[in-house]
């Protein structure tokens, strides 16, 4: 049983933002509820009000538009795993969405909710960081864009302000020669380690390398130090640097020892996944 709460159902972003402003910490945005309701059931959080944002318009489409791919924050994982736009333009993200949790979570859970809840053991944030995505945050008075890198602050904490809603995730449509891959590892219900790579592979040379690690530590992080070991190199040279890049990425993951594994183990797995993700992307 859940504790009793009041349901608010705003019809505009301004209304939703105003409710958040008015009620502060005693209210929470609710969409799919796949994380939120669990935390409430376990008594970890409680709210006097839930603000159901599913009546907000125009937040539930994934579309390609003028060189950008725009994903509405209310898109469910199921909508994304069946999206032709994602399948053709962002196959790594499409594949990630097919493998989120289970079929029931994918049916109800939204990408926006996943990102805002900022559960460390989650997939999308890591890949979106490597894809250089931006999150669009809106409130009554306006909107701003936050890079994925800057969006995740800590476990269960994003850089959204109290009265802001995440409305859209924007990713530059990949050009020719762009490759990306996301791999995860876990034997519990949630992933224990996730690694994403993205780069341009043109005439045998790598540029614009981005590497992100997630799940092992409190939030997904980009690892520029590891990127530097691969950037500008030929594919073969980069392959020879993968072991070192893996060690650097492992240390940067801020892995903590817990039920998912020891710090050493997770750091090691980061290295393994980086190697495999690179091979998968580079072909």
């Amino acid at each position: 049983m859940l504790r009793r709460f009041r349901l608010e159902e705003p019809e505009t972003i301004a209304e939703a933002s105003e409710l958040l402003s008015r009620f502060g910490e005693s209210a929470k945005v609710y969409a799919g509820g796949t994380e939120l309701l669990l935390a409430m059931k376990e008594g970890l959080v409680q709210y006097e009000r839930l603000i159901n944002i599913k009546k907000l318009q125009n937040l539930r489409e994934a579309k390609a538009d003028d060189g950008m791919i725009s994903i509405g924050a209310l898109c469910t994982h199921h909508e994304l795993e069946t999206s032709p736009v994602l399948r053709h333009k962002l196959p790594a993200l499409h594949r990630l969405e097919q493998n989120v949790a289970n079929v029931r979570v994918r049916q109800a859970g939204t990408l926006g909710g996943n990102l805002c809840f900022a559960e460390p053991h989650a997939d999308p944030g890591t890949l979106l960081t490597a894809l250089g995505a931006t999150m669009v945050a809106e409130k009554a008075s306006g909107r701003r864009e936050i890079s994925a890198e800057d969006f995740f602050v800590d476990a269960y904490e994003t850089s959204l302000q109290g009265d802001e809603l995440l409305t859209e995730i924007r990713i530059a449509a990949p050009e020719e020669h762009f490759r990306s891959a996301y791999l995860k590892f876990g034997y519990l219900e949630r992933p224990s380690v996730g690694v994403a790579v993205a780069f341009k592979l043109n005439g045998g040379g790598l540029t614009d390398v981005k590497i992100a690690v997630g799940c092992a530590g409190p939030s997904p992080r980009r690892v520029r130090e590891a990127e530097a070991l691969l950037n500008g190199k030929s594919k073969e040279e980069a392959q020879r640097s993968l072991a070192q890049a893996g060690q650097v990425a492992g240390r940067a993951s801020q892995a903590i020892s817990d039920l998912h594994g020891s710090q050493d183990y997770k750091e090691h797995i980061v290295g393994v996944l980086l190697k495999r993700a690179f091979q998968s992307a580079a072909g």
Binding site: L2, L7, G33, L37, L38, N102, V103, Q107, A108, E189
Partner: protein
């Protein structure tokens, strides 16, 4: 019927009109009530089970507009104007659904606790993909856990039902 629910005098009541196993229901729920509890306690259909309560095991699987949801983690008001199918609604006029027949014939259950969820999830799978490969079946059914059978007979049952349903189509 079901148990009478005591409601707080200042409760926010949401009118909930939805189709349950083909029949229109019009009830009232409070925002915090879970679909699982409303279906079991207020509506008396106990085929859906509370098991893990964290939407990992699938024993609480119900179909809402044909798609599987975790009733343990779905607020009841979310099914307003939708259609809900429970295991009790699968047989028509006493005739078992091919999935139910197959689970019986192929030994797809032992204790039966996971079975309502398994069958409903399998129905959603076959409605979407009438000829799944074993890999596709396993991927879709990944979130339904069984502690008794070791899954082999469940897979056989679903594949047999799929074959039967394709030949009937």
């Amino acid at each position: 019927m079901g148990k009478a629910m005591r409601r707080h005098s200042a409760a926010q009541l949401i009118p909930l009109s939805f189709t349950l196993n083909g029949r229109l229901q019009e009830i009232e729920v409070e925002p915090h009530e879970l679909l699982l509890d409303v279906v079991r306690d207020q509506l008396g259909l106990t085929g859906v089970k509370r098991s893990c309560d964290v939407q990992v095991c699938g024993a609480c699987t119900l179909l809402v507009d044909g798609r599987p949801v975790s009733a343990c983690t779905t607020l009841a008001f979310e099914v307003r104007d939708r259609s809900v199918l429970t295991i009790e609604g699968l047989a028509e006029d006493g005739k078992l659904h091919p999935l139910q027949e197959a689970f019986i014939e192929h030994g797809g259950f032992q204790c039966g606790f996971c079975t309502p969820g398994m069958i409903l999830a399998a129905k959603a799978l076959l409605d979407e993909n009438p000829a799944p490969s074993e890999a596709e079946l396993k991927h879709f059914m990944h979130g339904n856990i069984c502690r008794c059978t070791g899954y082999k007979k469940i897979i056989e049952s679903i594949m047999a039902a799929a074959k039967e349903m394709r030949s009937e189509a």
